[in-house]
């Protein structure tokens, strides 16, 4: 284990190496006052370096006691249990929920892309509403963060979808409590809107800032269960000269979002635009931001026109098979495609 792998500043690292402290083990064997003398730095600073070093060596050390063989590791068996208990946000389209295994999963980053007008924003708003369905109705009873980079969020539309959702819940309620004295629930569509935190982002700097800030924001608003970014692409598609920088920034963002999803047990939904790509002699549609970005999300769903019907296709997922299902955008929001009862087609 080399000293150079420690998260230390360049000058401290330089001092360590020139003083002969090249390996971690050499650091473990010294005390802070010795180190301070050798490096000609203050004792406090030396103590900080040792702290960093011991944290690192602790990570690498194999502990035999307790259940954990490796710190921070989890057995596949535990993960299975966790996955089974993990909750999904319904899309309000049962065909789509079927192929997704219940809906958009928490703890995962899901990327949804498609041509203009296919219904990406609609799906985004629908999810922001559906995440608030109370647990009594099989929902999460959470709140939503909607990060709008394009200015395409229409609050009137959100109200429409919220009203439809409230109606559906009332209907469900009356079915469920048909015989018993109707238990009065008061579902206010406006309350749905009150639980949507809307950030309007105008530059890519703000986009990075808001993603950095989310960690703090969510720890203050623990019941946030979905983060929707509509779209992840917009500011990164223009005014970017340095493509390597773009890739790095996007990579950093993806990592932070992934961590957020895991840490707070919430779903992250990224909406993406499409672009054309030259492939084997012809131009094809593909999601924007390039090949390295396509690794960033856990699941990738492409929305496309199949004849006159809207379809969703699972392009990438570690746990679900590749499949497509029809859906429709109605006045109430995302719903099953009504034109026919076509079976879900497995590809």
């Amino acid at each position: 284990m080399e000293v150079s792998s420690l998260p230390l500043s360049a000058s401290q690292r330089g001092k360590l190496i020139s003083a002969g402290y090249t390996s971690l083990s050499s650091l473990c064997a010294t005390s802070s006052c010795n180190l301070a003398r050798d490096l000609k730095i203050s004792e406090n600073e030396a103590a900080d370096i040792l702290k960093v070093a011991s944290r690192r060596s602790g990570l690498d050390k194999i502990e035999n006691g307790g259940q954990a063989i490796m710190n921070g590791a989890q057995t596949a068996w535990d993960m299975l249990h966790e996955e089974e208990s993990s909750i999904c946000i319904t899309t309000s389209c049962s065909d789509l929920d079927d192929i997704l295994g219940g809906g958009i999963r928490c703890k995962e980053v899901t990327e949804i892309g498609g041509v203009p007008g296919i219904g990406k924003t609609q799906l985004g708003i629908q999810l922001a509403v559906n995440v608030q369905i109370p647990a009594d109705y099989g929902g999460l009873g959470g709140k939503a963060i909607y990060i709008d980079t394009e200015g395409s969020f229409m609050v009137e539309r959100a109200l429409q979808i919220a009203e439809a959702c409230a109606d559906d819940m009332l209907e469900y309620n009356s079915l469920l409590w048909k015989d018993s004295q109707a238990c009065e629930v008061n579902i206010q569509p406006r309350a749905f809107l009150n639980n949507m935190f809307y950030f309007r982002i105008c530059t890519y700097t703000e986009q990075i800032a808001v993603i950095n800030y989310l960690e703090k924001f969510i720890s203050e608003h623990k019941d946030v269960k979905v983060v929707i970014i509509d779209s992840i692409t917009f500011h990164f598609r223009q005014d970017f000269e340095d493509m390597a920088l773009r890739t790095r920034l996007l990579g950093g963002m993806a990592l932070k979002l992934m961590n957020l999803a895991k840490r707070f047990n919430l779903a992250v939904v990224l909406l993406n635009q499409v672009t054309t790509k030259y492939n084997e002699g012809s131009f094809q549609l593909t999601l924007a931001l390039g090949d390295s970005w396509s690794h960033a999300s856990t699941n990738r769903i492409i929305l496309y026109w199949n004849g006159n019907e809207r379809h969703a296709y699972i392009d990438k997922s570690p746990s679900m098979r590749s499949a497509s299902a029809p859906y429709a955008v109605t006045i109430k929001g995302i719903r099953n495609s009504t034109s026919n009862c076509k079976r879900v087609k497995l590809m």
Binding site: M196, Y198, F199, T205, E206, L249, D315
Partner: protein
């Protein structure tokens, strides 16, 4: 907020000085670098860098609103609930009141279909006094193709609002509120956009029309494989203009014929098609909007004007609130008028196709079309 100064963010003095010494002045400078890059550059520990980045992010992140407060704010502060009525009953109903404030609405269609007519009418409507249901403000009309015709506009005014336009001096006042710009090149247009931003705030401008956006790039934009859209900057600028001034912005877009190998499918679709032998429908028309897919992503509402079996049709091709619906129309002396306020429902992708059948026919047959319109 991207250009906020780090020195004014209340970071500890020592940290702020380190940033300043490395010429990292604004939030943009700092956030464009990864945490490890910053650590390397600033020569401080990871812990401090992370704290500083978190602080900078928090300060430069815009504050949130709940959707409810957004809704209340809109409905309280805005005249006509934030829409410019087109006075085409069916279309207004479908669009929930008209052309919405704060977003970019696009008109796409073949030449001569009536895009400019529609724009002229909108300009007129916005300049009407509020007592007559207009917006009572100035209109900026960016006329790239030199198609703006004052005579035609006054004619529309006279036949649609005779009671106003026959009043002494009112026609002059209306027309005096419409400012026409004629940029000759993309760079000139870029310049005038920046001026527009200033005058929007100062001069009570209620509508911005750009006719047409595509003409600006003809020649410069084709199938070139440039990584950047030539209008990339303009797209975001126009969108932000619309949003921060809360005015409707209407742009027109031309059509071009679709190249044979143009992408319209994803790789997985191509693959599954290959198995079931070419069953892809052959489109009878090969017209597509001239500005590509990136532009199409940026507009909030797209209205397609087309001609179908000899009749003109205007349809809502993209909107996050309205259903896909189309209306047959013709062009009369008062501008565009709908034949039927009922509208026809568009099935799926049909809303996005642009037909141009028998288009030559209607122009000849349509005797109502006044000469000044062409």
């Amino acid at each position: 907020m991207a250009n906020k100064l780090i020195s004014e963010m209340g970071l500890p003095k020592s940290v702020a000085n380190v940033f300043a010494a490395r010429n990292i002045i604004t939030a943009k400078d700092a956030l464009s670098l990864g945490e490890f890059e910053l650590m390397e550059l600033l020569d401080v520990g990871l812990q401090e860098v992370m704290l500083a980045v978190a602080h900078i992010s928090e300060i430069s992140c815009p504050s949130y609103q709940t959707a409810l407060s957004l809704l209340e704010q809109r409905s309280q502060n805005e005249y006509l609930a934030g829409h410019l009525p087109t006075r085409l009953k069916g279309l207004d109903e479908a669009l929930c009141g008209g052309i919405p404030f704060g977003v970019v609405t696009e008109l796409v269609g073949p030449a001569g279909i009536g895009k400019t007519q529609f724009c002229l009418k909108l300009a007129l409507l916005a300049s009407l006094p509020t007592s007559y249901g207009g917006l009572g403000g100035r209109v900026i009309y960016v006329d790239v193709e030199s198609k703006f015709s004052s005579r035609r506009m006054i004619e529309m005014g006279l036949s649609s609002f005779p009671e106003i336009f026959q009043m002494e001096g009112l026609a002059q006042e209306m027309a005096g509120r419409i400012l026409v710009l004629r940029p000759a090149s993309l760079s000139e247009f870029t310049e005038s956009l920046q001026q527009i931003k200033l005058s929007l705030l100062q001069h009570h401008v209620k509508l911005l029309i750009i006719d047409s956006m595509a003409a600006l790039t003809s020649g410069e934009y084709g199938l070139g494989r440039s990584r950047h859209h030539p209008l990339g900057w303009h797209i975001s600028f126009i969108k932000s203009l619309a949003e921060f001034c809360r005015i409707p912005v209407v742009v027109t877009n031309q059509v071009r014929s679709q190249a044979r190998d143009e992408a319209s499918q994803y790789l997985f679709q191509v693959q599954s098609n290959a198995e079931t032998i070419e069953d892809r429908p052959k489109f009878d028309s090969h017209l597509v909007a001239a500005l590509g897919i990136q532009w199409a992503h940026a507009v909030s509402i797209r209205l397609v004007l087309e001609s179908r079996s000899g009749q003109r049709l205007i349809k809502i091709a993209k909107s996050s609130i309205s259903p896909s619906i189309g209306f047959y129309f013709n062009i009369t002396s008062s501008g565009i008028s709908l034949l039927d306020d009922e509208g026809v429902e568009m099935m799926g992708a049909e809303a996005n196709t642009i037909h141009c059948q028998g288009h030559g026919g209607i122009i000849n047959v349509d005797t109502e079309l006044p000469q000044s319109a062409t």
